[in-house]
Structure formats: C-alpha cells, structure tokens
Amino acid sequence: MYRYDEFDATMVAERAAQFRGQVARRLSGELSEDEFKPLRLMNGLYLQLHAYMLRVAIPYGTFSSRQMRRLAHAARKYDKGYGHFTTRQNIQYNWPALVDVPDLLDDLAEVEMHAIQTSGNCIRNVTSDQYAGAAADEVEDPRPWCEIIRQWSTFHPEFSFLPRKFKIAVTASDNDRAAVRVHDIGLRLHKNEAGETGFEVIVGGGLGRTPYVGHTIRDFLPKEHLLSYLEAVLRVYNLEGRRDNMYKARIKILVNAEGADHFREMVEEEWAQVNQPGIDLPREEVDRIHDYFEAPAFETLPANSTTLEERRATNREFARWLRVNTVAHKAPGYAIVNISLKPIGGIPGDISDTQMEAVADLAEQFSFDEIRATHEQNLVLPHIRKDDLYGVWAALKAAGLATANIGLVSDIIACPGLDYCTLANTRSIPIAQRISERLADLDEQEALGELKVKISGCINACGHHHVGHIGILGVDKKGEEFYQVTLGGSAAEDASIGEIVGRGLSSGDVVDAVEKLVEFYKKERKDGERFLDVYRRLGADPFKEALYEAA
C-alpha cells in the first residue's frame, strides 16, 4: 500500500487547516452560502435533506485496518454509528455537524485520509479494480498508476474549475471491474504485440442524463506518458467543454459533439505541444511509487487446502459462500474474499461502526492489513489463505457480513435516494430492500446467476441504472413516486446502455415487475446464459410483453 511521506502528510494537514479556516469564515458570516458552497463541495461536504454529508476519499478503493478503525471511530464520534460505501469506492457520513467537520478531518489526516476532491467540478477520487494486486487475470497492478494520477490531480491549479466533475477509472484486466467504459476517462492497461504494457485511453463515457459508452481515442499509450496525455485531454476539455448548460457540460457531450475522431485530433494536437518531459514523471519516481505496491510476502502454499475441502464438504452454507463470494487469487493457496454489504432487506452499502471494526480485525489478522471498497458498494479482503477461509467466514457471519450474494440479484446498487438526498425525486433504498426480500432465497438467486440490478432515485443516475442488467429509475409524477425499468445495460467489458422498456410503474408494481422479468428469463434461458445474454439474444419486445401483458 502507498504510505504518505512528509510531503503528502503536509499537503493533507494543510488542507485540513485550510478547510478549518473556510468553515470559520462561513460560521462568522464572512462567507455567504453561495461563496462557501463550492469550497465545501471541493472538500466533499454536501448539505442533504436532514444534515450535512461528508464524503471521504478512499483512493482507488485501497485502505488499511488502521484506516478502517479510524472510519469506525469517526462514525461513532461524529455520526450516528454507521457509514455508507458508495459507487466510487468512497465512504459517506450522513450526519456530521458542520462545526465538527474540521475535527473529523484532523482525525482522518492522522491516518492519511482526507475528503479532497470528492465533489466539485474537479478531477475526482480515482477509482480502480477492487481486486487489483490480487486478481489472477490482471496484466499488472494498476494502483501505482492510480496513485500517480491521485498526486498529479490533487489541487491541480488549472483543472479545479472544470465545466463539470471529472471521473477517471483504471483497470488492468480484460474483465472490467472498474467500469472504465462509462467514465470521463477510462484507462485499460494491456499488453501490445511487443509485450509492453500501456494504456488504452477511453474518453467520454458516462451515465447521468445522457448516458454514453466511451470512445477509445488511443489503443496504446506508453505508460510513461500517462500524465502529459491526461493533461492534454483535460486542457482541451477545460477550454472547449460547454459551460452554458450544466447538463451538457460533461466531457461526453463535447466528445460526441466533436465526434470521437475530431476529438482525438484535438487531444493529439495539444499533446504534441504540452511540455511532456516536465509533466511526465521520471523513471525513478515511477519506480518509487511502484515499490509501495509490491506484492505482500505470500507464503508458498499448495494450490488446494485440505482443511478447506473438509469444511466445504460438510457445511453447505459455507460451501455456498465459497462459490459465490470468493474469487481466484494469483498466488497459489490464497483467495480473494468479497464481503457483501447487501444483507437481505438491508440498506445497500451501509455498515455499522462495530462491523467496520470486525472487518479491520480480519484484515489485520488474515489479509496483510488490506481492505478494498468496491464500486458495487461491497468490501473485499484481497489476500486470504485458503486455510483461513472458514475462520474468516465464521467471523464475518457473526458480524452479519456473510451474505452469499455477490453478483446475484440481491447484490443491488442503489443510490441514497429521497431518504437522504436533496436531488432525488424518489426513494431508492426501499425498492432495493423489497426486491431483495422478494427474491431472498439464496438457492434461487444462485440458480439465476449473475444479474445486476441498479436503482437510481433521479436522472443523475448515481445508482448506475443505465448499466444495470435490470435498471430502475425513479421519477416524480405529480408528487408520486414512479419507477421506469431499463433492460440490457452493462458496465463491464461488454458495456452497453440499457433501454427503457415502457411506462413507469408504482413502487409496488416495480417489485412485481422484477419478479416477472426473472421468471421470463428462467423460462427462456439456454444453458449458461445470463439474464443479459438472453436479453441480447431476444431483444426488448418479448421482455416488454412479459412485463406488461397481465399487468
């Protein structure tokens, strides 16, 4: 893991001090709310329906036990005993008082954490593959490059007042777990024919009001030029992006208005003129940052564990959890463990202070002190010895964290919706709760296979409904909550935007609708086909019929 040196520590401490001053100026009335709002947003502080909300960055989703314990402490001391993991690998606190936020940030700074650029029209917290450094299928660990981007983008003087927010995601696997095709910039590390690794640069993807899958403007960017190339893209966007209409201000609108080919020319022309040697890091610094991400000292272990196999054979519940929640690790004898934050009927992404501490303890004892947050609002223990899996499972179960539903129908992404959010038109969480209760049976869920349900409470699409196999969008109709269903979206390597299948449904009917769609899928599927595959094979019409005929 990256560790701060004196420079990073000074930066974060000075940021906390600066924000303390900004809060003091607001409290004294020296700053109006209009003046203060962009300042607090640049530090992740929103005003929600009931209270302020602070979004804390977990850069590329990687954090330590010590940091997790501090997050638990903050939840207890400054909030109401819980936090909420988001789709951008961040954690949000829903109840901090403005007057306490400076102290909260000081507490976080002590463990190398902050809320820098978790909101505002700037380059946001960079996201990545939650299995980075552990996955069997990656070409290399993408996180050193994430850290390089984090440092370059932090307080970038030219790009802190962009037309709109700017999100960068990095993956190093053909199995895209970072949704790189629906980001402002997506970066995919891969090997070229000569065996060198470099970046595919994808620009102009995004969700929101106008969803787009991004365009590849470079198949292979040599790694050492990453920062100068990013600087060129950002400069073109800063100068040319629309500022007359906030709904048309994201880079995806510019890319699609110019056309991907012309946009590429604009970037290449700018890149040819930027000071590449001044911006791109020298080899020594790249190596220095890579050193922090050296693989932990894995033991030499047999690929299979006999204790594990004995437990698997005798404990059906454990066996299911192994099948559903664990993933192949690159080191023999290890596994990647997913921790579901989606208990049946629970609030997606919420976790209590004591659960946070339970996860911290397990990570410290069994996972080289590492924890990951996923963009699907779950957690990961990346390096667990197979011999330890049963013990880890038992401890997670005791903490209420062993729901075996990763990637299944009840592993739902939902935005906070109208229960918390000022922008929302409708609630999201209760719909997620009722769908997961309706389809609670885990045998059934496993038989259904991968099925991604994503729910947003308004058109801003924080719940990623456009890329749900089943997406649900809340809309307000004359003061009543209605829900529109979209089908066929995907945020993975086969990225696609879902299609709206018909009129909006009431909150009761939308839960029935999901069940009908699932039933129809079960009837139609051929061997091995996922819901998404059947939808792509049959098209929208038969699904529409199934959804609306007897309604």
Binding site: L49, D419, E481
Partner: protein, 95 residues
C-alpha cells in the same frame, strides 16, 4: 398557506421559522403565512446567514400539515429517513 423551512447552519438539522421568529425543529410550531406575504418573510429569513442555510417555502394547510407536490420529500425531511426509523425526529416521537 406557506411555512418557511431551512437547515441550521451549524449542524444542518431541518428547522422551521416559528411564531416567535426563532427557528424550531418542529413543524407543528412553525408560523404559517398567506401565500402573498410569504415571499417577503422568506427574503428576511434568507438574510439570517449566520443561523441557517437554504431557506425556502413549503406548502401547508390550515392545520399546518404538509401538502402539495413535495409532500413525500418534506415528510421525510420532517421525520427522518424512511429506512432508518431509529434516526431523525421520528425516532424521538416513537420513543
């Protein structure tokens, strides 16, 4: 009729402008204004920037109950998240 709501500056809590011109967490204690007068009162309330932020008008009936398009939103603001009945003002009235 209208009432004036805002979030308290210091902790962000939902407040309403009361009859005594003080901010109260209870909608039942909120002052009610005729639609025609409400704008002026709101303008005065908005200038109290050291006390509150984001002040605006909500529609209420003669008894002070929330009405209109924003009923769901304002009901949730008043009570707390519907998915955490143990939090917000709603928790106090149950307990």
């Amino acid at each position: 009729m209208k009432a004036i709501t805002a979030n308290a500056l210091q902790d962000g809590a939902v407040v309403y402008l009361g009859d005594d011109d003080q901010w109260t967490p209870h909608l039942s204690s909120a002052a009610r204004f005729e639609d025609g007068d409400a704008k002026d009162v709101l303008a005065a309330a908005c200038s109290r920037i050291e006390e509150i932020t984001e002040a605006y008008l909500i529609s209420v009936d003669d008894s002070g109950a929330i009405i209109g398009r924003e009923t769901i939103r304002e009901t949730i603001r008043k009570g707390g998240p519907t998915v955490r009945l143990d939090l917000g003002l709603q928790a106090e009235s149950c307990g």
